[in-house]
Amino acid sequence: MIKLFRTAAVAAVTALALAACGGGASNPSNVSPTGEIKPREISWLLSRPADGAVINIMKKLADDYAKDHPGFSLNLITTPDRPSYIQKLETLAAANKLPELFDTDATPFAQQLAKQGKMVDAEKLLKDLGVYDNYRPSALDYQRFDDGSLNMIPFQFELEFIWYNKALLQKAGVSVPKSLDDLPAMCTALRKAGITPIAIDGQDQWPLERYVAYQPFREAGPDFIQKLKKGEAKFSDPAGQKSVQWMEALGKAKCFQDGFSSQGYSDAQNQFTSGQAAMYNIGTWELPSLATDKLNPAVRDNTDFFTLPTTQGSVTAANEYVSPSGIGMAVNTKTYDPLVSDFLKFALVKYPSEYAATGALSPTTNVETAVPANATPLYKKALEKANDLGNEQAMPWDTQLDPTTNGRLQQELVLLVQGNITPEQFTSTMDNAVAQNAPKFFK
């Protein structure tokens, strides 16, 4: 029995060790491999809607490519639910089984993959394909790691706005806020008029996390989060405190719907589109439901949006806010060969025009987005904002912080906004969490 156990233990360690080592011998900066193009099946592990534009277009492009290269096929493995996707990506990475292409945000985990040379240098790749200059700088910046290196290719470009219902604001006697600091008072007025001020998807947690990023972005600029995540800046610093106090004020003014923490994405949107909530913070990926005739006729003409308000002494400008280019696509170094290279060249050149034709913003500037026939005037107005962006952008914190701190922040934020903990408790818990977890990820 004991002998059996010992054998098993040895086997266990061996199996784990086998999985842990091994890996890419290829060079991440070798972007134009030489040799013959041998068509085969390649896979793309992605986290995008199964029936969405990106997948449909890439499927079509892959089919076109296969016509000239018999034997080629693109296997799209999508897991739209982000937490499930991340779990899958991590297990695959742990087992050293990442496919040719895979999606990831510029997270600390991805950075570690990049450091181990597992992702092809995307900047070199795009330059080599001659498409680098087509990309919007901010779309690429969103994908970059802290050190400026680029390993992911964007397929989208989105702008986040605060959508609002003109009639409800009027009813409460308030107007569009000039400063972020106006928001709590605005919520109080709306509540007095019996209106839910802001509809928020609390279940998915990233929406609330956006709010904590706003004040520091205005107060201290994009550097704050870069420092905070490494423990070089703290929540107890002035910019951090301003954010903490503001979040508490939002909670006290009952800005979000009651019981928001357990309400999902659709619930929140329904509250806004049914005319119950006055404001709704969401990106241009929702244009088809907010700026076309699909929108409930009762609120259609009353709907408008404003961009992230500034504050007094704001170091960032009004045209600088959250403009993500979505989850990016990384290219696996280990399996990068002439075929992958050739297919990417084929697809990335043709992708933007196809994508813009669906009414979405392309991550490149060389194409014009088609406004759908059923769009309201807001659609065009929203698209035009993309041409008028500043140089800085507010990064969503969930892609920046190490995962453990991020999870803790999401949990503590809800407590702070609900008034279950004080700003002091919040500050010390979070600063401790960063101190404890950041060193492991940002060595």
């Binding site: 156990f5 098993a8 233990a9 086997a11 266990a12 360690v13 199996a15 784990l16 060790a17 842990a20 080592c21 937490p83 991340i86 779990q87 991590e90 297990t91 990475a93 742990a94 985990f109 570690q112 993959l113 181990q116 597992k118 839910t196 609390g202 279940q203 947690q205 719907q257 009651d258 019981g259 928001f260 923490s261 357990s262 309400q263 999902g264 619930d267 509250q271 190490d402 995962p403 453990t404 999870g407 999401q410 949990q411 503590e412 809800v414 407590l415 609900q418 279950n420 903990i421 977890n437 492991k440």
Partner: protein, 293 residues
Amino acid sequence: MLPNRSRLSVLVFLLPPLLLYGAAVLFPILQSLVLSFFSWNGISDMEFVGLANYVRMFTGDDIFWRSFFNALGYLAICLVLQLGGALLVASLLTSLSRGRELIKTLYLLPAVISTVAIAFLFVRIYSIDPVGLLNQVLQWIGLGALERPWLSDINTVLAAVSVPEGWRFTGLYMLILYAALLSVPLELEEAARLDGASRWQLFTKIRFPHIRPVWITTTIMATTYGLRGFDIPYLMTNGGPGQSSELLTTYMYKTAFTSTDFGYASTISVFIVVECLAAVGLILFMLKRKADA
């Protein structure tokens, strides 16, 4: 033991199941045990850290203890609902003369629905804005003062996520207990009734002692399933608000797959295994002693 059996025949029957079980269950547990002494994020090299993970778990991790006590609370509510509810319904059912089969079937139905749908349904039931079923019912019966966002209130959320889990499998345990209750010899009951025993006495003195062995089994089943609970809290609240509904299992899962701290997650796994073994031992010990007394 069968007289004509050979050693070989035992092996023939035992080896295949043991192989599957060893490969799918025992070996991974062993691997977890090994991993629990390492620090490993899945992609970099494994680093041996000795007992550091255990020290961190017991002394330096407030969330661990929080989830441990939450898991106990969750377990308690599930047990009350599953065992108490099952015993109640089973007893009631024995007094019914018709329609038992139908009720037994209906009672099992929730078990077939996927947890995703159950979680979504209960989120609606607990909701306050728009008003959900629970708050509406409270309003109707004049308990409007109790209305609240059940899943956002840190005082009610643990109970709120436990109830669906308890509710789902009540039917299963009810069936088992019901069968046991039917096996109570009629003569015993009749004799006690003639002696003037009340319904309650009948239950505590005759019926319950008779079904005790089955009761032990069901308690063990319900306890271990309760300690394994995962889907519903994970889907409904993801452990929140704060850590109010974080269980050891959800915390372990997040540590592994969100924080990519596989070593530490394995340490928590080992703790869960030990905890479950201890719980079963405790139940056996308590119930056996009571039976002997």
